[in-house]
């Protein structure tokens, strides 16, 4: 009987094994077929939030969709606008419209034409349904001039309009399959989706309708939540690109088999303060907090020194950047003094700090900052919350005193700073300054480059002085690739150009 | 001719107490011997010694035990199957618990037989088992063989146990309380099975029982045990018609008065079987004995009354 039972168990498990592995064949077979083709594998920690660029706000989506879809224009490493689906463009004299000339003969991966009509349809969808439709509210109409020419008319002047067409969420999608784009994307980019098993892998293969340069036949995003796994996989040649934390740089730096790309991104990491909560409504307290925190120590402790210290809400890579770091240097004595002036003695101010659990670096940074604030006589109560809770209670609900978070990069000062407008929904700082509001209005309508630059500088200065947040750093992203991979580069917005890479 | 079973001054103890003190007993070939006494006086322990079934903390300290010329006590565990278990059959006290509750009777009856007789096919062994069951008066043998113990009555299980013991050509059948825990009707049936077995075969039997009526019908000779010692032994007639030891007398007296649970009746006699002090040479029964006198506390020797009749008492 025992033997029969054992046999039964063995057969049962064999059956299950067979049936399960059978179920995965269709997904994996395509991956195996590319044995002789060039394939680049990149380790990522989370799945994309669907593959519809209009319907997602997640960076993990855009690093995939930027290879599937095309935007009208795109950027180079320095953030200059360069042609993509549009070969050329002209801005009207009054700045109230842009006309794009599309690449003739462009096709979606399903064979549909990617012409002016398709572009217009895609933008109509963006304007009416997208998560970011608000950012494009300045567009009043999209006009199909001819098969390869499309004109965007603006309802209000927006001098930085061109750059908004470069963001991956403004990609052109085939609206005839709009309902299924999240799982079966159709775009005109160099790659198309070949398989996606959530939390396992996502494989892109060459789009047969793509005529441009393409050095890599297949791109596989491998979901690996654990850093150790990623590093071992890279060392063993199972993946080609990983994103690492600063402490691991030493492991690859002197190894000829790997290339370390440490580049300042276009992001911002800061500790937001609720300017409406008791204590923090006093600018002296906010300044005291800025004096009390040793940003260099925070950057060293959390990011191993891989980060550019900032003094205002502006990434160092943009041309309008000015250095405001010297305004409030680390000075705990001054911090105590300011606190006393504001009426808070030692230990009399208690602040609640919320940290988003999914981002370990923010949790770490929060703990280091809290320790430094405690030394300056401010009590900090830390609570670590889930990302969804953070979004709901802290970001949307604005129920907090302090929180550490990051913002993704934008190409112009307005998109970056619009959240400081006192009426903005994104203004979770509860910051309100009429001068800032006025300057923001002015910025968008100032055609003169020098004058606009001046406004950007003034905005940075005001924020640096009034410190609605503790600006920590512009993070340096450290990608490690195998040395065989050439052409890997990082862009000021969250995109990758796999078609420009190749193996040697 | 040597005795089949020869137990000589056997001493057994656990970590605290002496259990058997200089126990001497023998069974001749083909002889039917009964061992009687109250619960707790060491009957079961003495046959467990014979069968190498002692609990972990119980050990033999002195004495010898020979079965069919083999020194049983020196047997190692791997020799037991060949040297002992193939020649002694054993029917345990609690017959319903001594069958595996989950295996079919046919399996249980033939498994060990097949292991011992390589080359015999299962069907042949089952055939043999069926034959034995029939000879024990079992009807509907095929159904019984394909049943599990919980599907059978107590009497059937008892017969199966006897049949299992008889599967091999044994020389001695040891039965521990073969008729206790059965209701009156079944008890009578099983008694008949034993009696007819005793009459038919030249098999030696060692019955442990406190059912004196059964003993009287079955046995050639009787040993009476009390508190780990033999107190009287003799031929059946000697014991039943002229018991000497007060303990034997009270057992027989009680058996004649009532035919019920003996333990209870003995309890009416007052007192219990002592656990401690079994090594002492004085009379262990003295405290419960009507005829107690001063010299019962002294060294009471095992007296010879006739060639076959011995007693440990001054009277």
């Amino acid at each position: 009987m025992a033997r029969r039972l054992l046999t039964f168990l063995i057969l049962f498990s064999a059956f299950l094994l067979a049936s399960c592995s059978g179920g995965q064949d269709d997904g994996a077979a395509t991956g195996a077929a590319g044995g002789t083709e060039s394939r680049v594998r990149m380790a990522v920690t989370v799945d994309p939030d669907g593959l519809d660029p209009h319907m997602s706000a997640s960076a993990s989506t855009f690093q995939v969709t930027s290879s599937i879809y095309e935007t009208l224009v795109t950027v180079d490493e320095q953030g200059n606008i360069i042609p993509s689906l549009a070969e050329s463009w002209t801005v009207a004299g009054d700045g109230m419209s842009i006309t794009f000339s599309l690449r003739p003969g462009a096709l979606f991966s399903n064979g549909n034409k990617c012409d002016a009509r398709a572009v217009a349809a895609s933008f109509q969808r963006l304007l009416s349904e997208s998560v970011r439709s608000q950012d494009y509210a300045f567009i009043s109409s999209v006009e199909v001039v001819d098969d390869t020419t499309v004109r965007f008319n603006f309802g209000q002047l927006n001098v930085v309009a061109l750059s908004t067409f470069a963001y991956p969420w403004a990609a052109v999608v085939d609206t005839s399959c709009a309902d299924d784009l999240r799982t079966s994307p159709v775009g005109s980019g160099p790659y198309m989706l070949s398989s996606w098993i959530p939390q396992q892998s996502l494989v892109l293969s060459r789009n047969p309708n793509w005529n441009g340069e393409c050095g890599i036949d297949q791109v596989e995003f491998v979901m690996m939540p654990d850093m150790t796994g990623q590093v071992t996989a890279l060392r063993n040649g199972q993946v080609d690109i990983i994103l690492i934390t600063g402490d691991l740089v030493g492991q690859f730096e002197d190894d000829a088999r790997f290339t370390v790309n440490a580049l300042a991104g276009n992001g911002l990491q800061l500790m937001a303060m609720n300017n409406a909560s008791a204590g923090l409504d006093d600018v002296r307290v906010r300044q005291a907090i800025n004096y009390a925190v040793d940003k260099d120590a925070v950057i060293e402790a959390v990011w191993w020194g891989y980060g550019e210290k900032i003094g205002s809400h502006f990434p160092v890579v943009l041309s309008e950047y000015i250095d405001m770091n010297d305004l409030y240097p680390y000075d705990p004595q001054r911090a105590r003094q300011l606190l006393a002036e504001a009426g808070y003695g030692e230990g009399e101010l208690t602040l609640r700090m919320y940290l988003p659990r999914s981002y370990q670096e923010y949790v770490n940074a929060g703990q280091v900052i809290a320790a430094q604030l405690e030394e300056a006589g401010i009590n900090v109560e830390i609570q670590i919350v889930e990302w969804a809770t953070w979004l709901s209670d802290i970001y949307n609900g604005r129920q907090y005193d302090l929180t550490v978070v990051g913002h993704t990069g934008r190409l112009d000062a307005y998109s970056l700073l619009a959240r400081y407008r006192s009426t903005a929904a994104e203004n979770y700082f509860n910051y309100s300054n009429d001068v800032v509001d006025a300057l923001l209005d002015q910025y968008n309508t100032t055609v003169d480059d020098a004058a606009r630059m001046e406004i950007a500088h003034r905005l940075q200065e005001i924020l640096a002085r009034e410190v609605p947040a503790l600006y920590i750093q512009d993070p340096i992203q450290i990608y490690v690739t195998t040395s065989r991979l050439e052409g890997f580069s990082v862009f000021p917005i969250n995109i990758f150009k796999f078609n420009e890479m190749n193996f040697v | 001719m040597a005795e089949l079973l020869d137990m000589d001054r056997l001493c057994v103890r656990d970590t605290r107490h002496i259990i058997l003190s200089e126990l001497t007993m023998h069974v001749g070939r083909g002889e039917k011997v009964a061992l009687v006494g109250e619960s707790g006086c060491g009957k079961t322990m003495s046959i467990r010694t014979l069968l190498h079934m002692l609990p972990d903390d119980v050990s033999v300290t002195s004495g010898s035990l020979t079965f069919d010329g083999t020194d049983v006590l020196s047997l190692r565990s791997h020799q037991l199957r060949q040297e002992l278990y193939s020649r002694v059959g054993f029917v345990a006290q609690n017959t319903s618990a001594s069958l595996h509750p989950l295996l079919r009777i046919s399996t249980q009856m033939t498994d060990f037989y097949l292991e011992r007789h390589r080359g015999v096919r299962r069907s042949q062994a089952v055939e043999k088992a069926a034959g034995i069951l029939r000879s024990l008066g079992m009807r509907d043998v095929e159904r019984v063989l394909s049943s599990r113990p919980d599907q059978l009555s107590g009497g059937m299980r008892q017969r199966i146990n006897i049949a299992i013991a008889l599967m091999d050509d044994i020389l001695l059948l040891v039965a521990d309380e073969p008729t206790s825990a059965l209701d009156a009707h079944v008890r009578r049936q099983i008694e008949e099975v034993y009696i007819s077995l005793a009459e038919r075969s030249c098999l030696a039997m060692l019955l442990v029982s406190h059912d004196l009526g059964f003993v009287r019908r079955m046995a050639d000779r009787v040993y009476v045990m009390y508190a780990g010692k033999m107190v009287e032994e003799g031929l059946v007639d000697e014991i039943f018609s002229a018991p000497v030891h007060p303990y034997t007398r009270s057992l027989i007296a009680l058996a004649n008065v009532k035919y019920k649970n003996k333990d209870e009746d003995l309890a009416q006699l007052g007192g219990f079987v002592p656990v401690v002090g079994r090594e002492s040479r004085s009379c262990a029964f003295a405290s419960r004995c009507r005829y107690e006198r001063a010299d019962c506390m002294a060294d009471v020797e095992y007296r010879r009354l006739s060639d076959t009749h011995y007693v440990r008492c001054w009277r």
């Binding site: 009987m1 025992a2 054992l6 063995i10 094994l17 399960c20 179920g23 995965q24 064949d25 997904g27 994996a28 989370v46 799945d47 939030d49 669907g50 997602s56 706000a57 997640s58 349904e129 998560v131 439709s133 608000q134 799982t183 959530p198 396992q200 979901m223 939540p225 654990d226 150790t228 796994g229 071992t232 996989a233 063993n236 199972q238 999914s358 919350v385 889930e386 990302w387 969804a388 809770t389 979004l391 709901s392 609900g397 913002h407 994104e426 | 079934m53 278990y85 193939s86 054993f90 345990a92 618990a97 001594s98 595996h100 989950l102 249980q108 060990f112 011992r116 599990r148 299992i164 091999d168």
Partner: protein, 319 residues
């Protein structure tokens, strides 16, 4: 038997209903919803409202519960808001990882426990018994995530074994699959071994003390058959029931071990679903796991009944 099974299924349905209502309440209670997560730190209040309406989150809780059950009756677990895929197909994908993992580790721990436990009980107090009791204590106390970390350090840093933390389906590469699954299987098997070994040992000790064991021994039955057929057959119903419980627990996914070894199993899917407030997916997984637990217990109860038809119904009912 049929009536018994029906009764069990009925009570299982009640439990599943309770569990899923609890899940609804809890997900309603905790802050954030799928729309908020989708919008993130970009997007406006109007966008948020539009997405919430699209996901049906603007309706009242009873309405949503009613809708969900209406779907459930037609065996439709709904669509994941995060993955935009059918919930059942997402779960099914994970089972390909989770089921072999659970079966392998249960098979290993169960067979180890049967062999070691039986021998330890047979030679009670001996060297093997001592080793077994040490294993019982150590395996029962070692935190699985710590063991995972230690093994990960040992194998990937010290021995530099390739392929750990890189799941490959067996249909692509058997070798890759084995390296990816090897360590997690060990961790999970060790986690189950403690209680199983303890139970096997103690029920074997009980069996070895039974009269029929002594009788079978005196009949001269060989040692191997005595231990592994007679005694084990009798002792196995308890361990078999426990095996069912353990298997059910593992089939529900082991979030921590899966995330340490980067395995795309059900546990990790559940964590992501909760994180993304993917109500349909959370519900689907919770209901599926509950059903699985109930089903496994039922299957193993029936198995126990087959092995041990004499077992009283109290034992089967209490499992």
């Amino acid at each position: 038997m049929g009536k018994y099974v029906l009764g069990r299924i009925a009570s299982a349905l009640v439990v599943m209903l309770l569990v899923s209502i609890l899940t609804f309440l809890v997900l309603d209670l905790i802050p954030g919803n799928a729309a908020i997560v989708a919008v993130g730190v970009e997007g406006s209040a109007e966008t948020l409202a539009r997405l919430e309406a699209g996901l049906g989150l603007d309706r009242s809780l009873p309405q949503r519960i009613a809708d969900y059950y209406r779907g459930l009756i037609s065996l439709d677990l709904g669509t994941s808001s995060y993955y935009a895929q059918d919930v059942w197909s997402l779960i099914k994908q994970r089972l390909g990882v989770t089921i072999p993992l659970a079966l392998l580790s249960t098979a290993i721990s169960f067979s180890c426990a049967l062999i070691l436990g039986s021998l330890a009980a047979y030679r009670r107090g001996g060297l093997l018994d001592g080793i077994c009791r040490t294993i019982v204590q150590l395996a029962g106390s070692i935190p699985s995530f710590w063991l995972s970390l230690l093994l990960l350090i040992l194998f990937s840093s010290v021995f530099s074994v390739a392929g750990i933390g890189d799941y490959v389906p067996p249909s692509v590469s058997i070798r890759g699959y084995v390296t990816a699954v090897f360590l997690p299987v060990i961790v999970l098997a060790v986690g189950q071994l403690g209680p199983m070994l303890r139970l096997v040992r103690s029920s074997m000790i009980t069996s070895l003390g039974e009269d029929w064991y002594a009788s079978a021994r005196v009949k001269g039955l060989g040692r191997g058959r005595l231990i592994f057929v007679y005694a084990l057959r009798h002792a196995i119903s308890g361990p078999l029931t426990l095996c069912g419980n353990q298997l059910a627990k593992l089939l529900g996914g082991t979030a921590i071990v899966e995330s340490i070894f980067s395995l795309p199993g059900l546990g990790r899917l559940f964590l992501t679903a909760v994180e993304m407030r993917d109500l349909q997916l959370v519900q689907g997984i919770v209901i599926f796991i509950t059903a699985l637990v109930v089903l496994m217990n039922l299957v193993f109860d029936i198995l126990v009944h087959l092995v041990n038809p004499a077992a009283d119904s109290r034992e089967a009912g209490g499992a």
